[in-house]
Symmetry: C2
Subunit: 348 residues, 2 copies
């Protein structure tokens, strides 16, 4: 599995184009960088806004029985229904961005079948309790990675050229915190946050749960990311990892969301370092360990709006900024076209 390589020559041409547009050089700041970054990855010096698809992976977590979330586990399944009816935050932002959204049930803990309107790809009825045993088997991790990869292939065939992976799973910030600690070497105290909004006593419990999971897996090699995923990951986290890996191989840029997304991105980059080249960091979440995870990924988020909802919402919001950056890059007149003089001493 090897990541594709962005076209640096197209990136250089895009940069040259930016410097011809009727504005002081560099005055559109990160919008200029963003347009050039996308040009290199979409294979077009002045690309139109690519078709985007959003996959929301839903799954449950055995560790939820430890009481680490402010919400009961049943909310995962209830939110899958909400997604299929268009009522969740990610639905609103997908409509606004004109992006196809697909909800993928990779392991909701329910006696009911996956609701119609969502894709059924259940790998289990929730994971095992990661604080006491391996969350998943190796075979389950492989299956989840494959689900993510299949999303890339199917969306690519439909013409999607930019992808977002979102998630829903009560208890999943606990799994993501374990992954981030295991993959970066950071301590739980600097990674474990309040998730959906837990109070101090629950936060202390959640930290202890993460610490005991990390303790349990001291024998797992840090350079064996698939083992780390199996020990303390989750179905949706592994599916997102699989999506990021397949997107990098296929050469499709992905817009990262928040804390969960960063954990999956770290796993993907640990498996294939070249995957990082296809990742765009959308926003800085208020979840404690997110800034640390982004620094480890060496990615700079575009927005800081104090979001912590997940589902892919921060990434979907950022599609609006991406659209603007590409429109400016494509549609602005050049100095020559507009008959505008360049800087006083260096006519452009």
């Amino acid at each position: 599995l090897t990541a594709a390589v962005p076209d640096r020559s197209i990136e250089a041409h895009a940069r040259a184009r930016q410097n011809l547009l009727t504005k002081p050089a560099g005055s559109l700041g990160r919008l200029e960088d963003l347009a050039c970054w996308l040009a290199a990855r979409l294979g077009d010096v002045a690309p139109a806004m690519p078709r985007c698809e959003i996959f929301v992976f839903a799954a449950d977590h055995g560790v939820a029985t430890r009481g680490v979330s402010a919400f009961p586990q049943s909310v995962t399944e209830q939110m899958v229904h909400n997604f299929t009816r268009g009522g969740a935050g990610i639905n609103v932002l997908a409509r606004l961005a004109d992006a196809r959204i697909e909800v993928v049930d990779v392991g909701v803990a329910s006696d009911e079948p996956t609701p119609s309107g969502a894709t059924s790809a259940r790998i289990g009825r929730g994971t095992h309790d990661l604080s006491r045993e391996s969350a998943m088997s190796d075979a389950q991790v492989t299956k989840a990675l494959d689900v993510g990869a299949r999303c890339v292939e199917e969306s690519y065939a439909r013409g999607a050229r930019i992808l977002i992976a979102g998630e829903m799973g009560i208890g999943n910030t606990t799994a993501a915190a374990c992954l981030i600690c295991a993959l970066t070497g950071a301590e739980p105290a600097s990674v474990v946050g309040r998730g959906t909004g837990i109070e101090d006593p629950v936060l202390a419990l959640k930290r202890a749960v993460v610490a005991s999971a990390l303790q349990r897996m001291t024998l797992v090699a840090k350079d064996a990311p698939l083992r780390v995923l199996a020990e303390v990951g989750g179905f949706e986290l592994a599916a997102i990892t699989g999506l990021y890996l397949a997107a990098a191989k296929r050469g499709v840029p992905v817009v990262l969301d928040g804390f969960l997304s960063a954990a999956a991105a770290l796993a993907a980059v640990a498996i294939e370092p070249g995957a990082r080249d296809w990742m765009l960091a959308s926003h800085l979440s208020t979840e404690l360990g997110h800034a640390l995870a982004l620094r480890a990924l060496e990615l700079e988020p575009l927005l800081d709006l104090k979001l912590r909802l997940g589902e892919g919402t921060g990434a979907a919001l950022t599609l609006q900024i991406i659209r603007a950056a590409l429109a400016l890059h494509r549609e602005m007149a050049t100095f020559a076209q507009a008959g505008v003089s360049g800087p006083a001493d260096t006519r452009v």
Copy 2:
């Protein structure tokens, strides 16, 4: 001239609505605050995206003859042509936001008439050199304020309920720096920046020019903002001030842009403190004194994308974030509607 008062009761109802939506309370961060802020000002608990209009005020500055800009003065007029043909950054972002744009010539230094496609409201052929004499007469300031006020009335009649004021004027960051220094008491060294991208020697000259202007007007009362505008402002700066004042009186929110916008906002707030209640700070510019000016206004910018183009571009970009915040606020399902359980111990 008294500013309207936002409806705090509608704001409280909007906040209550946010807490019923299917997400952890507060998890949409500043998007929640933004929706509630707009609800209070649009007079609707769950408002649709209001119709927006953008006014770009163009004018020249006598101080440009001192060589304080990287671009020749003729660029102001050339850019007015570019605006009327749709080729500038603000045109692209206005199209994207479906916002009407009007270019208003309040004082371009040209022998040619205002080009068709722009509104002619010339108060002079550029201002006088503010480093040596008053930039404008009191009568000219009054005229410019009236131009801005007229834009509010005309756009209100067309149904616009959110406004952006942008600008174009070679040399105008020098005037804005003078205004910010005079209105906040800050030193030129912490306010005067590189504008369109001047090198160190020109920056030193620009600082000296600002310092001499401030020196010249030591007798002008700090609490006489109209006098300050006349001494060191500009036609477009005064027109924007007039637009902000009239919008506040009319009860129409305005989205501030960057450095120029902040200078005009400070002047407006000095004239009528209640005007601040109608101002939304869109982005933090890289222009040196912008952060200081926003702090003086007690406004927190939404975006930080290293923009420094002006024209209203940062504000127009932020319309995409505003649209998203309002769509989430209006369209997300409540816990009750979606049949989703609230936090474990407090069913919503």
